[in-house]
Amino acid sequence: MDWLHSLNPTIQDVLSAIGRAILALIPIFVPVPFMIWYERRLLSWMQDRIGPNRTGNITFSSTSSAVPGFLKGKKIKLFGLAQSMADGLKLFLKEDIMPDKTDRFLFILAPCIALFVALTLGCTIPFGGDKRFSPVADVNIGMLYILAISSLGAYSTVLAGYSSNNKYSLLGGLRASAQLISYELAMGVSLGSMALITGSLKMTDVVTNQSGPLYGMIGFLHNWNILTPMGFVSAAIFAVCMIAETNRPPFDLPEAENELVAGYHTEYSTKRWGLFMMAEYMAMLTFSMVFATVFLGGYQWPIRWDVFDFLENNFLIGIVTMLVKGALGLTAYIWIRATFPRLRYDQLMNLGWKFLLPLAVVNLVISATWIFAKASYGSLAALITVGICYAVLAFIWAMVRHRAKKVEPQYRSRSVNMVPATRRTVEMVSNKEVTP
């Protein structure tokens, strides 16, 4: 390794940056086929089906002379893991169709932007305590970087919708742009309160800030943000916005298949559609890792114990920890997809603007209160103060809901009665009068 150190310092920096970039891409890039398989299997288990479990199973013949002796009659089971590989192969071998009258440049650019966003999102996430390997760039604006890059993701859907020259695609693109702008706000404010508590926008600082004992009192737990009250609220807001940002169910309005065929990627096929698919899964994993970094203590293990310290500082074990936490986030994604029905458009907007954003702003104020109370009176007093704040907030919310219920009519179901119930009875009565 001496020749490396003899190089120009600038070239050394560039080389190490490239190396770190490749190291950061591997844990995001490689799991994609396994993630697709995992989603299909988990979803089918939740829906009481079987799912892909056969592809890739090989049974060797017990009589053929072409098979070597030790393999005769053996079975190799892959549990369907080869399914997504086969799907990918199929996507690349299919005929490439680009519809007529599309805006060719933008049509090709759109999936590229989606991939760009998914790949660069994780650049500021630390995968381990060792600063030589990760994050790619430990910039002092790490959180803002994540917000900025994720807000660029809107362009892929918007451009795909516009360039396809298809009404459904255009509607999907419109919905996507409105949805992403709306949820970006609440996401930014919820991350902002975490930045307040950390006192820094650096992702490594965010992780090291969560390494102390919980509230400074409970020794065996880390001070993870999700275990503090305002961190928990923030995490809930961030999780909802995260699902909305990646266009996953129940927020998949841009690609709602029973309204818009397939939304913004209706006209896409083969490799370009594959790029959209890959970008979606990669963005899911990266957002889960961002969630893990900001709220779940990054590469730290859940129990605080001195023995774990050297494990946490090891890069490889750090990556495994992050991937396990990312897989947890992925499971939550799939679970939510299997549980909730898709939101109506006005419900989506109301949730974003009338619930999440005010809650996030109030949470920001409460975080400031927490910091003040902790600095002045210690963490127990801060805990009590914040608890009282949330109790007052819940009371006010209940009051508002109570008043709103009095004013607004309550609909029993989501189905629409075309004819009001009163008129229907009248008509039935009149029919009876006419028929005899």
Binding site: D103, L144, L147, S151, V158, Y162, G173, S177
Partner: protein, 157 residues
């Protein structure tokens, strides 16, 4: 210097391209490169805000309105506006350039790390020296939000 060329090209693209979406895209590209220029001036906070506010929010809003209205391509008539506009622009550029650039020819921006652009200092300045303009601007934004909501509301009699 390597960034300035594409930025200038994108600038021309905003004005020259036929479809509004293309020029919006050129503008996004231009803002992106501007953000990198800000990074090169070690104003990382401002640069990332540039990407977030301009590329992430304002231009998405533009795209939204363009796609919502989807205006037919207004045929740019070849009338007196084009030559006059170009002439005017050239004259303006010459005037500004002749006045400003000779003075600056010798000045170099030193390539050193410095901390003025860091979020800590920006935040401190924003909430101490500039707290009054900050509040006024926030009020202005509030007025803007209310105004746009009022404008966009369908007035049903």
């Amino acid at each position: 210097m390597m960034l300035a060329g594409p930025a200038a090209l994108a600038t021309v693209g905003v004005v020259a391209s036929k479809s509004a979406v293309r020029s919006a895209l050129c503008l996004v590209f231009n803002f992106f490169i501007l953000a990198f220029l800000y990074f090169s001036l070690s104003m990382e906070m401002i640069g990332i805000t540039q990407i977030m506010v301009y590329a992430g929010a304002i231009m998405v809003l533009f795209m939204f309105v363009i796609m919502l209205l989807n205006p037919k391509l207004i045929d740019e008539k070849k009338d007196y506006k084009l030559p006059i506009g170009l002439l005017f622009g050239l004259a303006l550029f010459m005037l500004l350039g002749s006045q400003i650039l000779p003075k600056l020819m010798t000045a170099n921006v030193p390539a050193m790390e410095y901390e003025v652009g860091s979020p800590k200092l920006v935040g401190e300045a924003l909430f101490t020296t500039y707290v009054f303009p900050f509040e006024v601007v926030s009020l202005l934004l509030l007025v803007g939000v209310v105004g746009s909501v009022f404008l966009a509301k369908r007035r049903t009699p």
